[in-house]
Point group: C2
Chain length 499, copies 2
């Protein structure tokens, strides 16, 4: 402790959080490695190592010394950034203390086991095998939800939502999703009627994996990814992991379809640019962390949906595709754009188009919330899934667990409360781009010419560089002049699909 510091308790907190950041670095790299590279027989030892570390990080996060420092730091002369950092520290402290270490360790082991099993069970369509591990994950997450809920004085599902989007409540999700369900299905209907009349030339494969990989790297470079501070690899489920100083993206390649992989890469690149541009001076402190998962998804969807599905981006992408796979009619910019905005209800969330994506999220929300609240059981999921997908998208998924309720990794990892962040992220992304379009009315033309800097500058100024300085509502207000307003997404979709 600096002897002459006027903020000794705050300084002690800063050191404690920096230390946890350094240790968490090792955990994050090991988790990335597990999903991307680890051979099968390493699973047991890795799960034990991860659980040990998570338990220890939890012990550090609940160190009783912190409480006194937090109380006394509040009386110290802190500047605005330090005060914001202290606010986030207090939040982390409350959250950590709601959970006993044994629960943290048991959850780590159970989710490791469930995720490792899922990697085999999904391709084998083995719901019964998955269920054996999954029941324990549900039991442990329910317990965590109730403990967190008791601490915060909210409902158990609210308490899990709050882990990913601080302040978000199920009532607000209900309101936003009810609004979407009012105007989105007719929009899907009208769009499909229009699109059915327009021919789309399909790309002709095969698309060799090595070429796809080179294409991914090229598009990531176009999108400003810093390859000296991150990598692209492969995994069963695309994700963005690692640490802000070294972001690790993954995608997956299919010989017969390059667009899925490319769009997944673009999605993850949005996450990565947020991480790569978090303010370096704050790294390791709670104020320097990404604001929330809805804001994180607003970045991936800004890239995947807002930017990469403009007419201009099709123009930018067309020559890259020709060089990667040889010229073909499907790569002509008009056709490519029609391909990118084609609306087609499908089984898989990550491959969904912009208009039907919310239905996938609403389906999962409608299952995981009662699951956590205890009104349904894990065993009930397939039936609810079949019924929901039939109702929301008119698709029959009975017996197909692989492309049904086993398709996502989230639940096996115990990530209940995360799914709503995708669609709320889409709402934010639309609001960001409404602001960007006000500043740049010729956005499409600029994108076509590869002038993406204006977009990145806006995102950097209003989102990336802000990290967790402001709560989400204030961040939104400061960035766009208003709080979250779903009308932006509606206007954007109507302009793109009916305009």
């Amino acid at each position: 402790m600096e002897p002459d510091s006027r903020t000794p308790c705050y300084d002690a907190l800063v050191r404690s959080f920096a230390r946890r950041h350094r240790l968490d670095h090792l955990l994050q790299i090991a988790l990335w490695d597990r999903a991307a590279l680890m051979p099968r027989k390493g699973a047991e030892a890795r799960a034990a190592a991860v659980a040990e570390m998570q338990a220890w990080l939890h012990r550090l996060a609940t160190d009783p010394q912190l409480q006194g420092w937090l109380e006394r730091a509040d009386e110290e002369p802190l500047d605005d950034a330090a005060r914001a950092n202290l606010r986030e520290m207090e939040r982390a402290w409350r959250r950590a203390n709601a959970l006993p270490e044994a629960l943290v360790e048991a959850t780590s082991l159970a989710t490791s086991r469930c995720e490792q099993g899922w990697e085999r069970q999904r391709p084998a369509n083995d719901w019964a095998g998955f269920l054996e591990n999954f029941r324990e994950v549900v039991r442990l997450r329910r317990e965590a939800a109730h403990r967190l809920a008791d601490e915060a004085g909210v409902g158990p599902y609210d308490a899990l939502l709050d882990l990913f989007e601080p302040g978000l409540r199920a009532a607000e999700v209900d309101r936003l999703f009810a609004d979407l369900q009012r105007w989105l299905p007719p929009l899907v209907q009208k769009t499909r009627e229009r699109q059915v009349r327009r021919e789309v030339e399909l790309p002709k494969g095969p698309f060799p994996k090595e070429r796809q990989r080179a294409l991914s790297h090229r598009v990531m470079a176009l999108l400003g990814f810093d390859f000296e501070a991150g990598r692209l690899d492969e995994s069963a489920h695309p994700f963005s992991g690692g640490v802000p100083e070294d972001t690790r993206l993954t995608t997956r390649y299919r010989d017969d379809d390059f667009l899925q992989s490319l769009m997944a890469t673009i999605h993850e690149t949005g996450h990565a640019r947020y991480e790569q541009n978090l303010p370096r001076a704050w790294l390791g402190q709670p104020i320097g962390a990404p604001r929330s998962m809805a804001i994180h998804e607003s970045q991936s969807l800004s890239f995947e949906m807002q930017l990469a599905r403009t007419r201009g981006f099709a123009e930018l992408l067309a020559p890259c595709l020709g060089e990667a796979f040889g010229a073909q009619p499907a790569f002509e910019p008009d056709n490519l754009h029609r391909l990118l905005i084609r609306v087609q209800p499908g089984l898989i969330r990550v491959d969904a188009d912009e208009l039907t994506y919310p239905a996938h999220v609403i389906l999962r929300y409608g299952i995981e919330r009662p699951l956590i609240e205890g009104s349904i059981e894990a065993d009930d999921i397939p039936e609810l899934w079949d019924e929901g997908l039939a109702r929301l998208l008119g698709i029959d998924t009975r017996g197909n667990f692989r492309d049904g309720c086993l398709q996502d990794v989230h639940w096996s990892e115990g990530l209940f409360g995360y799914f709503p962040c995708y669609t709320i992220g889409a709402l934010y992304a639309a609001q960001w781009f409404a602001a960007i379009r006000v500043r740049d009315p010729h956005l499409d033309r600029d994108v076509a010419a590869g002038r993406l800097d204006g977009v990145f500058e806006w995102l950097n100024a209003h989102v990336w560089s802000q990290a967790s300085r402001l709560p989400t509502t204030e961040l939104t207000l400061s960035a766009t002049g208003s709080v979250l307003d779903a009308a932006h997404l509606r206007r954007h979709l109507e302009a793109r699909y009916l305009g």
Copy 2:
């Protein structure tokens, strides 16, 4: 603690060591990742994370509670394995306590910096740049050597040797190396005179990297590597890392020469099979660790030198090479064998043949020992290197730091005292194979037919499965009926090169 255990203190020790094993897992994966995959800008955060973890592992290793447990466990009714485990625990405890945490952390940071710098400085031939970081590494390792020496009552270089080969002293290294220097140079001389009269057809490249990678995988499979419990990747300096449950090998590929990379892969596969076959029940305990680094190198050299340079192995390898690169005269078994046992003094240790390899080790030993003892400084290294290589192998290396004193990663990592293990490992490997040949007089014929199981069974029974149950001397006695005897290497080399 089990309430009715008759060995409560020993049990507490077992739990403490198991916990450190789990945490060390994360550290080892991060170190492997740093060498094999990490992008440049991740270096600073990684170094901080590694140092934090090493400092914490050191704190756990010096937890004052351990001392009481160690003393009382000695009075508890332990079986032989537990008693051996306790012996290794006591050794670890004494060693850890000799070093203060600040020194451990400073060394971690200094070696991270030096190694990261080395990766750029070596290709740039930048000795001056390297020296800036390296002086600090030397300073810190000298301090560690003196502290360890004071604790153990030995010389400072002895204390570092002891970290890698418990019980080995510089006086013994001097004796073994003096013996080698007596009979090896004439043997090199005679061999070269014989070989100069025999034509060797050189393989014609290029050898595409993808083909080399596939060949490496095929040969590793022949050698019994378990790909479900490990991987092969690439790095600037081939090494074997990871954890016993998930061994991570690296190699490097050159378009114009596949043999260097293949031999490096075979070397690392020897290390890997030791790790992959350590007894699972003991993993996480000191008794379950590899016996020592000389014994570890005896495994890599059993594979690279003893096995892979037999006439039989050339027969086994020949069709693999033809399939990988297309048939050519150089791959004919007789010619291939002549290639594999060709003796040619060269600059690079890891590419050296069996006969000139010891000279590289003797050179490094002759520099690092006085460096640690303080009679020379880091600045003196290039001059001593030039003089030594000229004297030992008749090669001029002046000005060529890249292929001279910058060629190895060891010193940048602070690994002084390690190099002798290579040549002592070669002595052990020759002693193992003398015993194996007694059991199987038709070894060459069996190897040619791909019947390698006899070799692996012997190594497993006498080395791999023994882990650290016995001190090295007893292990050797139990495996071969005598203590280490350099005559085995001499007989082996004379038979192979003059026979």
